[in-house]
Symmetry: C2
Subunit: 200 residues, 2 copies
């Protein structure tokens, strides 16, 4: 796996980014175990040797796909948290999530939920990676909520961990609703209802 590093030797002949993007989309749709290397060679348009030389083994490739997913697709949450006011954060969090889940061109669910839940022991690294991503997302939300409380936008009585967990719960539930086949309009109304019951 020295691809692209050395100045000498035969140069790479394919678009590494495009190949990884294709792999990511397939992993997103079928999960780690549901995606075979043969499937990957097809959608990436590469032979096994090229994949192994450029990305390592299946676990490495999955980790790279997850990284790409976070950087290129899952930024909707980070952007929402960057809103100046807490109300803006809350509204953006739900709206962006619905928008994300219903964007055509990719599966209607979070990759961290479908990537590896319920899998053999061989896939536990992938499963742990997905869990870790979920935990980090939740930690990011908490950080923003703590800031909001410091600025007085959130009552001091509210437990930050509990409130964060409650928010994450609803957001994760939305992903499952989308996977169940809910339409965009339905998800929007659910998100609005959640906001209303939260007091926004």
């Amino acid at each position: 796996m020295k691809t692209g590093n050395g100045k000498t030797g035969r140069p790479i002949s394919f678009d590494k980014d495009a190949a990884l993007e294709a792999a990511m989309l397939l992993f997103w749709e079928r999960g780690f175990e549901g995606t075979s290397m043969a499937d990957l060679t097809h959608v990436m348009g590469l032979s096994p040797s090229s994949i192994y030389a450029a990305f390592g083994d299946k676990h490495d490739l999955f980790a790279l796909a997850a990284k790409r997913y976070l950087e290129y697709r899952a930024q909707y949450a980070g952007k929402a948290l960057a809103e100046p006011t807490l109300e803006g954060v809350m509204r953006a969090l739900f709206e962006n999530t619905v928008e994300f889940l219903t964007t055509p061109g990719h599966p209607p669910a979070c990759m961290s939920l479908v990537g590896a839940t319920g899998c053999s022991v061989d896939a536990t690294p992938a499963k742990q990676l997905m869990t870790e991503i979920r935990r980090q997302n939740q930690a990011a939300i908490k950080l923003r909520l703590v800031r909001a409380r410091k600025s007085g936008e959130l009552p001091k009585e509210i437990n930050m961990d509990d409130y964060t967990r409650y928010l994450s719960t609803i957001l994760a539930g939305l992903s499952i609703q989308a996977a169940n086949g809910s339409t965009k309009a339905e998800l929007k109304r659910t998100a609005e209802m959640a906001l209303r019951y939260l007091g926004y």
Copy 2:
């Protein structure tokens, strides 16, 4: 697959219920694709031929396991819906869910969520079965809410589909929280918070 029907011939030599229970637990933990027939022979204590004779192929066995799961494990929701008052229904729905998710001896998640989400095309029947179960659960909740509205326990302005979907969203989210590793105490507080924000 004529096991147990005929009066003649060699009788079955194992506890069919116990074998199916073991299969169900493994499917619950590892999902359809994450569970191999070899794994199943181990936990069921049977040879492949016995399994095929008694339960059919892997898809059939998974369907039977799902049925058993619904009948023996997932009755907590149905019981909650049988509560006489809406407030009782709501409280029981959340409390029973938390209790269910944190009961030792089985994975901390709904089988309908981990059974087959993100899988290869071969497993789509299993995936559809899990989705169907989720849809039926949601339909049962809606039925109970409609009854509550007729009895005046729920304002007429509330859209039944939306409210049902919102409730399902939170309940599904709880399952993911549990799968993430939340403790029973944390889940309890999340459920209480959900109830409070819903007005109960």
